[in-house]
């Protein structure tokens, strides 16, 4: 049996590509394995996508190469594991033309409303993704969702509950290899945000919260914002808030190496997001795994990912209340220390070794 992962793109650093690498590693170890958890008769594994950087080209097959190598229309015993998060017409048509069994790996689709103003083309792709998802859900033999939140979206499309399994995405194993100990008393009042600068991440709300903190509660607090954006106008607007609102102490970091990001985590008192839509939220696990208390709002998949390991603020809290909450936690090292421990315990749930077992079990139940 041949199992191929399919996606829009495959790049060096993003959550879906990292998930694909984790799956590839697990499947590669399964080929020829007598392990009862491994898919039986797995003989080949590929990554199929048409958008890839030159340095990663040797690692993938394009859809044309796959057609040529495997043949048309494909063997019904083989499996295509499709990572879905946005629309892609040509890839969708290719997928529905193939005869292999289809399994969805659902990472969620950001609601297009967040992109209509600043990136209408992206909004269209997201809407396309929703339409494609409906068709793919009907054609697939099952799905693996990143979170319960994602699972509920798939079952609402009519997928039978027993055909949708929840398995967290694979994360970088280095995250779990140990990090600097979190000693709350020794950490300065430094807030950290990690994530892309997109409208649904609500970075402007985080900056408003921060503005209230430094103006009224503690002027020594700083905020590091780590993340890039593919929507230039939005990124520029967000960055300009620093001057427009005259808030000191905000530093934007575009491209950071892993070592540089680790340094920021090692100095941070708390990691904070005001995001209102996440299908999983990898930075939440990254923060918890490093023992840095993580605060989010009670929205989308966030409470499910954070579980008992982080601070989930009620979604109805306003700017001033959120500022008070963050400042209250910064001022209470004992409480932050307790959250650090809770976070590390929760993060173990997402250790790649465990994810590997969960993934194989889920896949085995679907195919």
């Amino acid at each position: 049996m041949r199992l191929s992962q399919v996606s829009n793109s495959f790049v060096a650093h993003d959550a879906i590509s990292n998930d694909m690498r984790g799956i590839r590693k697990v499947l590669a170890a399964s080929i020829g394995s007598a392990d009862s958890a491994a898919p039986s008769q797995l003989t080949e594994h590929h990554i199929v996508c048409n958008s890839v950087t030159a340095d990663l080209l040797p690692e993938v097959l394009t859809t044309s190469q796959y057609d040529h190598q495997v043949g048309l229309p494909g063997d019904v015993e083989d499996v295509l594991l499709h990572h879905h998060s946005i629309g892609n017409g040509p890839l969708h048509h290719w997928l529905v033309s193939r005869h292999e069994r289809l399994v969805l790996k659902y990472h969620n689709i950001t609601p297009s409303k967040y992109f209509v103003d600043d990136a209408p083309r992206v909004a269209e792709q997201l809407d396309d993704g929703r339409r494609e998802l409906t068709e793919l859900a009907a054609r697939s033999v099952g799905a693996i969702a990143d979170s319960e939140f994602n699972r509920s979206e798939l079952t609402s499309l009519g997928m039978p509950a027993d055909r949708v399994r929840v398995v967290a995405p694979f994360l970088d194993p280095k995250l779990f290899a140990g990090s600097a100990p979190y000693r709350a008393e020794e950490r300065g009042p430094r807030l950290l945000y990690v994530g892309q600068l997109f409208p649904h991440k609500r970075v402007e709300l985080l900056m408003a919260v921060y503005a209230v903190i430094v103006a009224q509660i503690d002027p020594t607090v700083t905020l590091d914002i780590v993340g890039s954006t593919r929507i230039g106008v939005f990124g520029t607007a967000i960055r300009s808030l620093r001057q427009r609102w005259a808030i000191p102490g905000v530093t934007f970091h575009d491209q950071l190496s892993s070592a540089e990001l680790s340094q920021l985590f090692d100095r941070a008192s708390m990691c904070v997001t005001m995001s209102e839509h996440e299908g999983f939220c990898v930075p939440a696990v990254e923060s918890m795994a490093r023992g840095v208390p993580f605060l989010c709002r009670d929205l989308a998949a966030l409470p499910g990912t954070v579980g008992a390991g982080g601070i989930v603020a009620p979604a109805d809290l306003g700017v001033f209340e959120l500022a008070e909450l963050v400042a209250g936690l910064l001022a209470d090292p004992e409480l932050r220390q307790a959250w650090s421990g809770e976070g590390r315990r929760r993060a173990e749930r997402f250790n790649p070794a465990r994810t590997g077992l969960d993934f194989l079990e889920a896949l085995g139940g679907l195919i």
Partner: protein, 199 residues
Amino acid sequence: MVSSKKACSRCAALGLSKMTEEHPRVRTDQLVDEIRERVSGRLAIGEYSEQVAEALLSEPGYLRRIQPARDELIAEFSSTVAAVRQALEFRPYGRSTASRIPGVSLARRALRKLTSTDIEQVYAQIDTPLRRLLEAVQLLQQQIDAVETPLVAATVQRHTDLDHALAELRRAEMLLRSAAERTADAGTSEVLMSEVDTE
């Protein structure tokens, strides 16, 4: 001490049915409860600096671009205004601050004249824009009447709703001007138009 919260999975594994008071989640929830009480029970606009409030509410055109933030800030500000109103024992028909805002008094005078003219005739021409104008002024009046202190009145001038209301005034003026050109009673309408400041 045991809280009223159901035990998390880890506490349950220790044989506990409820979280202890020392559990970080219980302590954080208590912090949230205290904050809710503290923030809702005071004049937030007074206790937080004018600088911050104005920074958050300034540049309405800019905030409009970031729609969710604007909605949230307006919601936050609206609750603040409500708190101010309650605390000052709001006098619904006290001296209005409307006259301090450029354009509003002129708009009101224009409206008074408008109601003294043959309004039915004007309505026939400008029903929709006039209603918009009236609604806009009414909204403006509600916003202004909701505050009495100069501090809040100054901030209200920056309120996006006010900005919206003034935009409606401008739009209404254009439509009125257009209608005035068509109406038989051009003289009356010309007088009206000349007194509507579109600031």
